[in-house]
Each structure stands twice: as C-alpha cells, then as structure tokens.
C-alpha cells in the first residue's frame, strides 16, 4: 500500500501547496536574485510551460507526441509575425495560442478520427515538426514575408516587439514583468490542468488512456476526448512559444528542430511521467544543468544529457517526482508503523464527503 503519497498527489491540498510555493517564488525571486539570474529563471518558467503541455497529453492522455516543438514553434512564429504586422501585442498574444491549437485540432482530427495507431502518432507528429522546420528554414529571401514581417529563413526573426500593456503600444513591459508573466502563466496552466484532471472530462481522458475499449463501451466517444486533450496541449505549447519569442525578442527555425522535441520528452521522463510538477522539475533541472555544463570545456553537454537520460531510464524509470514520493512514503512509514491506519481515517472521510 503506497496510498498515502499517491492519494495526496491527487488531492486538492497538493495542488494548493504547489501553487503556494509557485506564488511565493513569483513574489520573492525578483527581490532575491540579480537581473541576469532573473532572465535565466524566466526562460526556465517559459520552458516549464512547454514541459507541462507534453506532461499533460502524454502522462494523462497517453498521447506520446514527438512533435510538441511544432506547436511551440508555431506559437512563437505566430506571435512574431502578428506583432510585427499589428504593433499592439494583445491580439498576437491570443493568436499565438489559438493558431497552434487549431493546427493541433486539425492534426489530431486526422490521427484520432482516422483511428491511426500509436506508432503512426509518433511518426506523424515527428514528420510534421520536420516539415515545419524545413519550410521555415527555406524562407530566407526578402520575397518571403507575411504582411510586413520577413520570415527570415534560417536566420530567424530578430527584434520582435515584446509584450506591451494591452491597448498601449508605448508601454512595453520590463524584464521583471516578463518574469512575472511567465510565472503567472505557468501557475495558471498548472491550476487549470489540475482542475481539468479532477473534472469529469479529465477523468474520462485518463480512463481512455487506461482502457480505450472500456471507455467506448461506456458510451464515451474516446476520439473527442483525446482530440480535446491534444488540442489543449497544442494551445499551451503555443503559449510557451509566444513567451519564448518575447523572452529573447527573437525566434528561429531551430525551435522546430528534432533536438527541441527530444528535449521536451527528456524533461518529462526525468521529472516524472503522470505528474504535472514532474515536467517542471525535469525542465528546470535539465536546463540548469545544460547551462552549467556549457560554462566548462571538459565535457560536451549533449554527452552528459545523454548519459543522464540513460541513467534515468535504467535506474529511475518513473522520474524524480514519483520516486521522491516513494522515498517520502517509505521514510514516513518506517518512523510510524501504524501511519497507514492514521492516514486512512481522514482519507476515508474525504472519500465519503465527495
């Protein structure tokens, strides 16, 4: 019985605790660290949103998408192109979420309503990412532009106007506020997904991952639930892409690349599949490690990342967060042998109160 920690992980208390820590970081970090570190932390938060998007569709929807970077890149390019054309960043911000979501919806419709198997899911999402990469990569000439925005090909799009106060183009948000925005987005995404997973729709999505045949026999149209899950994942990845374009005021085709997609999968595996905090932890840990390794010359950072992935798959296959849960559970039980009955009673009550 490892019910204690598992139960806690799915309770609203754990969501509240995570959010409380997040809010604390949101308000405390800007005062504690210098500007350079804060900019670093901002990109961690942005990438964490991307990690959570895959953590949700893979860990809860059972959809292993090899091309989550496609939606990320689309969000980033949509924002860049729209904001260069429009000036004000409000509508481009929304478009950067809607366009990848629509793209995911069309792609998902073909996959789920065509009843393609999981293998094809991987092949198609991977291929779509590579197509987008090659497409954007080959738009270097001045003749490639959408409106007034040159696509830039392999050079990417530099000097993207960053977010301004809605309706006031001149009031561009500072680096400090970029951190706050990224953190608030991350926390909202987390809270929203926790709420969704606890709702009827979320529970059917999880059930469809467990046993699609039973979901169908119960009369739920599993295709629709999977499509919804996949589309939402695309929207969240698009949001992350938009924030990414804002962070460096720059975007380039490399974010559609294979390395990017692989990296997201590694975050989720290392952090813990089947949790929402896991991808955040995995993302921050790996990114911090990559940056740290990058400052020295002895080891190649890709080599170290590869080694870490192998170690995790072999030794910690469930990832950091679930394994940490196991350790806490074991330690707690060693200290209190009767803990099981002690925690069982209040859990029973919440069960009854449902």
């Amino acid at each position: 019985m490892k019910r204690g920690v598992v139960k806690f992980a799915s309770s609203w208390q754990s969501a509240a605790l995570t959010l409380a820590i997040g809010v604390a970081l949101l308000f405390l970090l800007p005062g504690l660290v210098d500007d350079f570190t804060l900019i670093q932390l901002t990109i961690y938060a942005v990438m964490a949103i991307l990690g959570v998007s895959l953590g949700f569709i893979w860990g809860f929807g059972g959809i292993l998408c090899f091309g989550q970077a496609a939606f990320f890149g689309l969000g980033s390019y949509t924002y860049a192109i729209a904001v260069i054309n429009m000036g004000d960043s409000t509508v481009p911000f929304l478009l950067a979420i809607v366009v990848p979501a629509l793209f995911a919806a069309v792609l998902g419709y073909v996959i789920f309503y065509g009843r393609l198997s999981d293998v094809y899911m991987g092949v198609i999402t991977l291929t779509v990412t590579l197509i987008l990469f090659n497409l954007i990569n080959s738009t270097a000439g001045p003749e490639w532009k959408i409106g007034t925005a040159p696509l830039g090909g392999f050079n990417g799009i530099p000097g993207i106007p960053t977010l301004n106060m809605p309706g006031n183009v001149d009031e561009v948000l500072s680096q400090q506020s970029m951190f706050s925005i990224a953190m608030v987005c991350l926390l909202l995404v987390y809270a929203g997904l926790r709420w969704l997973i606890a709702s009827k729709i979320g529970r059917v999505i999880v059930a469809a991952k467990e046993n699609e045949q039973r979901v169908l026999l119960l009369g739920y149209d599993a295709r629709a639930y999977k499509l919804g899950c996949f589309t939402l994942g695309g929207a969240i990845a698009g949001l992350a892409g938009c924030l990414f374009a804002n962070w460096g005021a720059f975007t380039s085709p490399t974010i559609f690349g294979l390395a990017m997609s692989a990296q997201i999968i590694i975050w989720v595996i290392v952090g813990g599949l089947g949790t929402l905090v896991g991808p955040v932890v995995g993302c921050v840990a790996i990114q911090w490690l990559t940056t740290t390794i990058g400052t020295q010359q002895t080891f190649n950072s890709n080599l170290v990342l590869g080694a870490i992935l192998v170690v995790f798959v072999l030794l910690v296959p469930r990832g950091i967060v679930p394994s940490l849960g196991d350790v806490i559970e074991a330690a707690w039980r060693r200290r209190k042998p009767q803990a099981d009955s002690a925690i069982a009673a209040p859990l029973q009550q919440t069960e009854n109160a449902r």
């Binding site: 019910r3 009827k200 529970r203 059917v204 999880v206 059930a207 467990e210 046993n211 045949q213 039973r214 979901v215 169908l216 026999l217 119960l218 009369g219 739920y220 149209d221 599993a222 069960e351 449902r354």
Partner: protein, 241 residues
C-alpha cells in the same frame, strides 16, 4: 406504437470470415426485461454472435435491431449511448484506477456528479464490492474483477445488458453468487448471457438458445434443452466424456 417491438432482434444475420461461415441466418429475438442464455459447444459461434451484438464485428448481411433501430453499423461508442451495457469475456476494466473510479465513470456519463457518487455507492453495495472501493482494479483477483465489471455495467442503468461468460474462471461459491446477482439484475434489466458452463445455466436460465455451427439449433426452457437428444449429442455428450 405496437407493444410487440422486441428489445433486441436480429434478422437473417450472417457473418463469413473468408471461407468460414461463423453465423448463419440467425433470427434472434429478446423481449423487454427478458433473461436469455446463449449456449453452444466450442466453435458454435457464441463469441461471434456476441461480438455482432456489441458492434465489435460487422455482419456480412442481415440486421441487428435495438428497439427497432438498426445498430449493426454503429461507431464503437454508440451502443453504450443507446443503453446497451456490455461485459466482455476478459474483464475490461481501468486497471490503473480504483474500483470506485471505474464504476463512477460509468455512472457519471448521464448523471450529475452528486447522483453519480450516490449511484456508485449503491451499485458497489449491490454487487458486494463496496469494501474494495479504494483498491486498484488491476490488482484484484479474477472473480472480483468480474463483479467490478458487472458493477460498471449496471451503474449506467442500461435497459439491455450483454454478458460474455460472466462465470468464467470463478470458484463454485463465486459462480453461485454471480448467478444470484444476475437474477437480481434481471428484475430491472434485460440480459443476454453467453455461457458454456451448464451448471451456471441451470441456476439462471429461463429460456436458452442453442447455437451450433453458427446457426440457432434450439430455443427452449433449460429442462427441455437438456433432455433434447440432438443437443445432448452435439453439446452435452461431448462435454461429459
């Protein structure tokens, strides 16, 4: 509306897999609230017939009517929506979820959250599985899994329930309990039970359909079926040696 529209009816149902004629000209009719057992020796076409009723297999020709509506070419999720509850031969449960969650998902489709909670509790109580509500479905013993699946099916309150070998792999005590449960369920729901365990059939059957080589051989009360020389020859005779 005439009262004689059967709950479930098949008309000249045929299935061919390559050269195998798995279902031949089956005309089957089930009244509202009826309990029907379908038996037959191995290879008689029981499983194919069951898969036809649940939409997992498409007929080569013929019709399957549920309250007069053709259901032979439905999407896999549509029988459930119409009110056909299905228990497959190998229990099909959400193994990674608790027993409670399994039943709740069934109850919640058409009910509000509050109602679903109440129905889940009542249903688990009814099949005697309330004590296991927090257990993972995947970790339960086979017999218990069968009951959880029965609970999942009846929680949706379907007018028609199709059970494929509900007593398979059960101990004698469990079989007896399952028989009681099925008779109790039959007070509110019509059932089609596909089985090959004759002892189990004796406990529950009111009317039995015997399949042989894909076609309906006999349709009668259990006593007359079991004393029928032809049925004994093809089915019981084989079983007793």
């Amino acid at each position: 509306m005439s009262a004689v529209i059967p709950l479930l009816e098949t008309r000249m149902l045929n299935v061919r897999f390559g050269g195998v004629h798995a279902t031949r000209d089956v005309n089957f009719s089930l009244a509202e609230a009826e309990l029907r057992c379908v038996i037959g020796p191995n290879g008689a076409g029981k499983s194919t017939f069951f898969k036809l009723l649940t939409g997992q297999t498409k007929p080569s020709s013929g019709q399957i009517l549920f309250r007069g509506q053709d259901i032979s070419n439905m999407q896999p999720h549509e029988p459930g929506r119409l009110g056909i509850g299905i228990k497959t031969q190998v229990p099909s449960l959400f193994n990674g979820l608790s027993v409670w969650e399994n039943v709740w998902l069934s109850a919640r489709r058409t009910n509000s959250n509050q109602q679903a909670e109440r129905i889940t509790r009542d249903t688990l109580e009814r099949v005697g599985m309330l004590a296991y509500k927090d257990n993972l479905a995947g970790l339960l013993a086979h017999g218990l899994r069968q009951w959880v699946e029965i609970a999942v099916v009846i929680a949706a309150d379907p007018p028609l329930i199709l059970l494929d070998e509900p007593a398979a792999g059960m101990s004698d005590a469990e079989v007896a309990r399952t028989a009681e449960l099925i008779l109790e369920i039959n007070r509110q729901h019509a059932l089609v039970v596909v089985e090959h365990d004759m002892n189990f059939i004796r406990m529950i059957a009111k009317k039995v359909t015997v399949l042989h080589q894909g076609a309906i051989l006999r349709e009668d009360t259990p006593d007359r079926i079991m004393s029928d020389p032809l049925v004994q020859q093809i089915y019981l005779g084989k079983k007793s040696h």
